[in-house]
Each structure stands twice: as C-alpha cells, then as structure tokens.
Amino acid sequence: MELLYLDLIEKAVWAGIAALGFGILFNIPKKVILTVFILGFFAGIVKFVFLSIDFNVVTSTFLASLFVGITSIPFAHKVNKPIVVFSIPAIIPMIPGYYAYKTILGIRKFTFVKMDDKGHEQLLNSIFSNGFMVLFILFAITVGVSAPMLLLGKDMARKLKD
C-alpha cells in the first residue's frame, strides 16, 4: 500500500516537471514558475487518486482540470497575472498522448497491413475506442479548465478593477 502511494506521488512530481517544462516553452513570467510546478503536481495527485479508486479516465481528468481551473483563480489574484498563465501549462501533462498514439497505430495497421475481416473488426474497435477517448479527454480538459473562468468572468473583472 505504501509503495502505491510513493508511486502515485512520484508520478505527480513528474507531472509537475512536465507542466514546468511547458511553462518554460510558453515563456511564462519568472514569478509564476514555482506556482505552475505546484499546480501541475496537485493536478497529477487529483487525477491519479481518482484513477486509483476506479474512476473513469475522462471523469478523473475532468475533475483534475476543474481543480486547476478553480485554484488558479486565487493565484491569479495574488500576483495579478491572467489565469491562463498558470492553468494551461498545469493541464498540459493530462493531454491523452498514449491514446492518440494507439489510435494512430490502429489506423496505420488498418491501412497498410493485409488481414481478414475479423482482424479488421478488432482494429476498428480499437481505433474507435481509443479515438473517442482522445476526443473526450480533450473535451474534459478544456471544459474543466475554462468553466470556472467563464462562470466567474464578470465578477473577476470587477474585482481586478478595484
């Protein structure tokens, strides 16, 4: 059990590092580098914890992005920077790269390898399940991270003005 927690925390640390790498790539201000790491780390924790208690990948990703969307609002207030500066690098590690890769592999095999109908059926199955997974995870990320901003949009603007 302890080993499982360690594994979870280590993965979350790497999620934080990935968030930070993308932050540097997007040239975020120096002041927010640590914040981006922390947000990426906790987003990872939220996602992996929900995954470990048998939540669906799409749901856990949505909850983790929602978490990032909500927690970046107070951070943004504190240092007077737009929310996107923290939130987008922090959610980048959740991009469904592996599912996208499997989708492409399936398409490649479907097009270039000769096989019988049963093989084709299996491949179609894998292309569609992985492809829709990619689509829904992307959707979960974007909705989750921008919902708090959209809902609080007007209030935020008024508060920043004061």
């Binding site: 280590e10 993965k11 790497w14 999620a15 590092i17 990935a18 968030a19 930070l20 790498g21 993308f22 932050g23 540097i24 790539l25 997007f26 040239n27 975020i28 201000p29 990872g44 007077n80 920077k81 737009p82 996107v84 500066v85 987008i88 959610i91 980048i92 590690p93 991009i95 790269g97 592996y98 996208a100 890769y101 499997k102 492409i104 592999l105 399936g106 490649r108 095999k109 270039f112 894998s126 992307l138 990320i141 974007t142 909705v143 991270v145 921008s146 959209l150 603007a157 920043l160 003005k161």
Partner: protein, 261 residues
C-alpha cells in the same frame, strides 16, 4: 528633435493599438482577452475602438471621441509563437493604464519595453522540455530506461524544431520534421528493446509538439462566441496533429515497426 511616433494623434494611436493586437494574437491570447485589452487602451486615450481580429490579419477602426474623427487600418499579423509573459504584461498594463490614466507616451514606451523582453535561453528550454518528455513517459507507466529514451528523443526532436524555426520553415513542415526526428530516436529504443515498455517512449517523445495552447484557445473562443476564430484555431491545431502523426507513421513504415498487439 522630437520623436514623431510618440506624439498622441489618431494615426499613431491606431498603430500602437494594432501593435498590441498583433502582439497578443501571436503570443497566444484568446480573442476575448485581446479585444478587452485593446478596448481598455483605447479608453485611456479617449478613443473608441472597433476591431475585427482574425488569425492572419486585423481590421481596426478608431474613433476620436472629442473630434469624431475616425481612422481605419488593415494589417497583417506575423508568425505565431506562444509567449505568456507578453500576454500577461500587456493585460496587466491595460488595467494599470486605466487606473492611472497613462499618457500616450507612457503607453507607447511600456509596449516597446514589453516587446523587447527576452525569452528564456534555448538551452533551458531544451532541458526542461526534454525533462517534460521524460515525465510523460513516467506518467504513462514507463520505467527509467524508457524515460531516458524519451528524454533523448525529445531533445533531438526539439532541436530539429528549433533549427527549422530558425530557417523560417513552414509550421507544418517543421512539426513533421521534428516528429520524424523524435520518432526515429524513440524507435531505436524499440528496435534494441531498451526498457520494459519501449513503445511508451515513442508515444511520449512527440508530445512536446502537441498544440495545446492553440486547441484550448480554440475552445475558449468558441465558448465566447468568437466562433470563426475558434474554428480557425481548431483547424490549424488539427493540421499540426496530423503532421505529428504523419511524421510518426513515416518512421514506423521505414522501420516496419509492429508494436500493436
């Protein structure tokens, strides 16, 4: 001699506001944020701005609220490259300018200052992005050897991307070449069986090319009813994803990799 470009008149103002627009558009701000910021800047200068912002060009009309004089200019937007420091600083400047009623000259100087800021050094970008690639490999369940392969593959892919950018290659060609280079290194890992899940390194080595900002801005624009801009961003992001997968497919066909099942 007085610098003519710092004098406040409607011609110089529209040049400044167009500069702000194109700066934010190339740096990866969503359309709503650009329009809000430009409106605030116009308010400070006692002008009213109306802008049509698209991916490659901007049309803007400025109306002087005192004299009712108006001016319309169409301008082209240069190449895009995400830079959140610029987005953050311009947004912030627009709020401060409203609160402190900045003069035209002060506004002009601040924008020039923001434009001349340096990015992070290339070596730092290279190392952190490669570490991010290694991190992805860990997240998707790879072991340390897979992470090493992902690190090297990302490093080489990113160098290729930077070099192509330096030679002003077409964006999609640049992504294709970078994806090919990264997959080439990662497939060596598969050929020689490095680590337990060498295919994870192949899947994660190209993730640094994924147009995350583009796709998220696309959804943001769609939600804010800038539908046309949202569609444009989505299509351009989609072509980038296609270029990534094409680069990977090319390498797989060359090496006759058969990693699925």
């Amino acid at each position: 001699m007085i610098d003519m470009s710092k004098e406040k008149n409607i011609r110089n103002s529209i040049d400044l506001l167009l500069d702000v627009c194109s700066l934010m558009m190339t740096s990866g701000a969503n359309t709503k944020r650009i329009i809000d910021s430009v409106n605030r800047f116009a308010q400070v200068l006692n002008l009213k701005s109306h802008a049509l912002i698209s991916h490659k060009s901007i049309i803007m009309t400025l109306i002087d609220l005192e004299t009712n004089e108006s001016y319309t200019v169409v301008t082209q937007i240069p190449r895009h490259g995400v830079n959140y420091s610029i987005v953050s600083d311009v947004s912030r400047a627009s709020w401060v300018a409203v609160n402190h009623q900045w003069s035209f000259e002060k506004l002009y100087n601040r924008i020039q200052e923001i434009k001349s800021q340096k990015r992070y050094p290339v070596w730092l970008e290279l190392i952190t992005v490669s570490l991010a690639g290694a991190g992805f490999a860990r997240i998707f369940g790879g072991d340390y050897l897979n992470m090493l392969v992902a690190f090297i593959a990302t490093f080489i892919g990113f160098s290729v991307s930077k070099t192509a950018h330096h030679y002003k290659a077409n964006t999609y060609v640049r992504v294709y070449l970078a994806s090919m280079a990264a997959s080439l290194v990662a497939s060596l890992g598969i050929l020689y069986g490095i680590g337990q899940h060498p295919d994870i390194a192949l899947a994660t080595a190209i993730l640094f090319l994924v147009p995350g900002v583009q796709l998220i801005n696309s959804f943001n624009d769609l939600y804010n009813n800038h539908i046309l801009n949202g569609i444009v961003r989505f299509v351009s992001g989609f072509i980038i994803v296609l270029a990534i997968s094409l680069g990977m497919l090319t390498i797989m066909l060359i090496f006759k990799l058969n990693v699925l099942g």
